[in-house]
Amino acid sequence: MFEAILLTVITASTPLVVAALGELVAERSGVLNLGVEGMMIMGAVFAFAATRYTGSPYIGILAGIAGGALFSLLFGFLTLTLVANQVATGLALTILGLGLSGQIGESFVGQPGIKLQPIVIPLLSEIPFLGKVLFSQDLIFYLSIALIIGIHWFLFRSRAGLKLRAIGDNHGSAHALGIHVIRMRYLAVMFGGACAGLAGAQLSLVYTPQWVENMSAGRGWIALALVVFASWRPWRVLAGGYLFGTVTIGQLHAQAFGIGVPTQLLSALPYAATIVVLIIISHNRRTTLINTPASLGKPFVPDR
């Protein structure tokens, strides 16, 4: 029983963690992309479509990643090349993504999907309890853990990561030092899009293996809140993501048990929790200022 709940918590948390990690890298480079929800839903519909036509959920995952990354290029072109307002463009990306995915996925509604099967790691999966929970998961879960380690190493141990953080904190100085600000930001935005697409693929291949319109249901926005919650540090995304996953699954189980509270109140819990968490994290103005990338959301036009 406990084991089963833990497994569903992991399934609910993984998309949040993956999408938040991608956004974290984009924001570390100084780009605020509010289009996570739109890129996620595009990833979900691309992944579902590719899986349906090829029969392989692994091709579906690739399609989801590609879908999210391509869609994020649109955001990159507007905000980086044409220096459009990042907040407004992010909103546009979400609105367009929700509309476009509904249009693309119209014929998939009600069609059966193919579920991504877990990969059981030999030996490790035989560890009592933990083995079953941690080592017989699907590929996307393993990827989410690898991403955390990889991003942590990249940001804080590699030269390119140092450059990325420099751009995020002061794009003017970084440019003067000869770092290609726009090029690196494009890469960071596309990485964010790829992660959001991967998170979307998880939704339509693992969480609920089918296509439902608006199936991201605000998860992209929760992922954005998670980045603030994690104060732009990869490992804290893991903690935050699992906190939200637990709230989501907890309320689902409470609904199933019928504990006499309106189901709508329980469904509102993850959203309310997001607000509470944001209050706790942001109330200290000074720590927020220290943690936030200083160039976040600011436009950059190189002077020549």
Partner: protein, 362 residues
């Protein structure tokens, strides 16, 4: 090929007017491409999408009905966006306004009094304003990002409405449909003309747009909005308070969204039900930007976006394309508006591979 931007010495007056029109034209071109990809004759499809709904009296009334909430909400949002407060939870404030305004007719279904309608409208505005007050309070008191909090509150408001209409407020004689009792005639917003359904919400929208335009153009408050939006520091030197501006802009936009909500429920629907809006609160963001955050421009933009809703319905009936196309149109339009706005502040130069970068000039 590379694209380089060169800052214009002054804002281009020509492109300030041209950019929304250019965006509309580009959206139509892309729309035509999309329709031909869907296997429809693009001219035919665009005609039934954008023209057919303008040819009949009843559909003009529908246009006014759909434009009214969009304009009301977008006018409020323009003040928010101009002052750098990113309220994107208008959909929630719309819902809460509808709920607060419906308290009287739902709780006292036998109350026939001419007083009920004005009271409902005021309560709707208060409801919307209070709900927008939550992100304002969190932003001023706890420094919380208003984009995320206002958006989370949308989901909560919608679930609250869902619970009310399926639970305590459900009409016991309603054959188990999740909706409240129909409002009494005194609680229904009257029609403007005898020729169709368009009701007073459209008048409210025009009045609100003109009032806010007047404020932004001729009153100190309007100047305060622009100064604080462009530079909080400069505003502080002028003695303006950014904190008070958060409250002012959020409460104003919340009240207008609330008014839109109760007007829609009272004038167009006639009772509360779980879903009362096809996303007006989000579409209004597009309206605000297409109108270049100018209340008069927003009136025109509201009519254009209302047309995409109508056209979506019409095209679904006449040529069998999904009504989701309307959403795609709306998203595309916002993208083109934002990219064309670049032309107002920058000259764009295409540089082809091999060419040298622009020479420095004195």
């Amino acid at each position: 090929m590379r694209i380089e931007l060169e800052k214009r010495p002054r804002i281009s007056g020509l492109f300030s007017i041209l950019s929304p029109l250019l965006a509309l034209a580009l959206t139509l071109v892309f729309g035509a491409i999309m329709f031909s990809l869907l296997g429809k004759d693009p001219i035919d499809a665009l005609y039934s999408f954008f023209v057919e709904s303008l040819l009949e009296v009843w559909s003009l009334h529908e246009l006014a009905i759909k434009a009214a909430p969009l304009i009301l909400i977008a006018v409020g949002l323009s003040v928010c966006f101009r002052s750098n407060n990113w309220n994107i939870g208008a959909e929630g404030q719309f819902t809460m306004g509808a709920i607060a305004g419906s308290i009287l007719p739902v709780m006292n279904p036998e109350w026939h009094s001419p007083m009920i309608l004005p009271l409902m409208l005021v309560m709707g505005m208060i409801g919307g304003a209070l709900y927008a007050g939550i992100p304002a309070l969190l932003k001023t008191r706890f420094n919380t990002n208003e984009i995320l909090t206002s958006l989370m509150l949308v989901y909560i408001a919608q679930l609250y409405l869902d619970w009310l209409t399926r639970g305590p407020w459900r009409d016991p004689q309603g054959y188990n449909f999740p909706q409240t009792k129909a409002f009494v005639t005194e609680a229904v917003l009257p029609e403007i003309l005898a020729s169709g359904r368009a009701h007073w919400a459209f008048i409210f929208a025009i009045v609100a747009a003109i009032a806010v335009w007047f404020m932004m153009r001729f009153m100190l408050k309007g100047f305060e909005v622009s100064v604080l939006g462009q530079s909080e520091r400069a505003g502080r030197f002028a003695g303006f308070s950014a904190r008070r501006m958060v409250w002012f802009s959020m409460l104003l936009s919340g009240a207008l969204a609330g008014l839109a909500g109760i007007s829609e429920v009272s004038g167009s629907i006639g009772h509360l039900q779980p879903i009362i809006s096809p996303g007006y609160g989000f579409t209004a963001i597009i309206v605000a930007f297409l109108g270049r955050l100018n209340p008069l421009g927003i009136i025109a933009a509201g009519l254009v976006l209302a047309l995409t809703y109508l056209g979506g319905e019409a095209a679904q009936l006449s040529i069998g394309i999904s009504d989701k196309v309307a959403r795609v149109f709306q998203g595309l339009l916002l993208f083109f508006v934002l990219s064309c706005d670049t032309l107002i502040h920058y000259r764009i130069r295409l540089i082809f591979a091999g060419a040298k970068p622009a020479e420095a000039r004195g």
